[in-house]
């Protein structure tokens, strides 16, 4: 399964490595471990 959606990075963000932390919301019927994924901002 892929969950997806649009992500808009602020114009004043500094280019380079950053991190995205993904989790299920507290309202979810399921549990999750927050997962840190590396991203690159251009």
């Amino acid at each position: 399964m892929l969950l997806h959606g649009p992500v808009r990075v602020a114009k004043d963000a500094r280019p380079g490595p950053a991190t995205m932390i993904v989790t299920l919301p507290e309202t979810s019927a399921f549990r999750s471990f927050p997962t840190t994924l590396p991203v690159v901002i251009e």
Binding site: L2, G5, V9, A10, A13, R14, M20, V22, A29
Partner: protein
């Protein structure tokens, strides 16, 4: 986009009864799973019959990943398709036992892929049975697995951010990739297509839902029908702004495929 099917209440109750993912109110139970420390996985070499060119993988079962299962492919030579698969059903590391050896067969549509149908699989150390288990060796996208977890919903892998990252088995037990199939544990995420995010523009951010393995390319996913309609993920971007200060922005990932 696949059809999204709502999950009946009776199915949710059944999952709970089977010990699978629990509702949110059960989060603080003492036995709640914790992230797996893959450095502690026992990599003692399995006992094997005589092999020609063995490659190794590990599958972890149990809600703490406590049951290690060796899976070994044997090929006539390096780079050639495997002919035999050994699956350590009882998790004792002895692959010479009856019923743990399977012959491969070419996939009907893609004969370069070699399939090893395992049928029903009883987890070591328990009564949990998974159905229609199959492991497939491929020349380009690693070693694939697929099964009906607890006979109910599909889990498959291993995945990574791109096809060329999908994990192949390793030449030695010490380097064997570790996969964690199923949906008994709290979900984790893996990115799909790791393109850069562009400032001031929308970028589509996609994640697999399932269990992380010990490295990129070992992610075990659930399928698009697993989560009931309305479930979504939250992605929080942590970055540095132009002045050098830490900043963050939050996004909902509500689409699915």
């Amino acid at each position: 986009m696949h059809l999204i099917l709502p999950v009946p209440c009776c199915a949710v109750l059944l999952w709970s009864a089977l010990g699978a993912q629990q509702p949110a109110e059960a989060k603080s139970t003492p036995a709640a799973p914790t992230p797996i420390d893959f450095t502690k996985v026992d990599r003692t070499a399995p006992k094997l019959p005589t092999t020609t060119h063995a490659t190794y993988g590990i599958y972890l079962f149990g809600d703490q990943g406590q049951h290690r299962v060796w899976v070994v492919l044997d090929a006539p030579a390096a780079g050639e398709p495997p002919r035999t698969l050994y699956f350590d059903h009882d998790g004792d590391g002895d692959l010479t036992e009856p019923g743990e050896c399977y012959a491969g067969k070419p996939n009907d549509k893609t004969p370069t892929n070699i399939e090893f149908p395992l049928g029903d699989l009883r987890e070591p150390g328990g009564q949990v049975i998974h159905k229609e288990c199959k492991i497939t060796w491929t020349p380009k996208i690693g070693v694939r697995f697929k099964m009906l977890w607890r006979g109910s919903k599909v889990t498959f892998g291993g995945y990574g951010p791109a096809h060329d990252t999908y994990a192949a088995f390793a030449e030695t037990p010490a380097k064997a990739p570790v996969f964690v199939p199923g949906w008994d544990r709290p979900f984790e995420f893996e990115r799909w297509i790791a393109d850069p995010l562009r400032r001031g523009q929308d970028s589509e951010f996609k994640v697999f839902v399932g269990n992380r393995g010990d490295r990129v390319g070992t992610f075990a996913a659930v399928d698009d029908k697993f989560l009931p309609e309305g479930e979504y993920a939250i992605a929080t971007l942590h970055y540095t702004d132009a002045s050098g200060k830490p900043a963050h922005a939050q996004f909902d990932l509500r689409e699915r495929c």
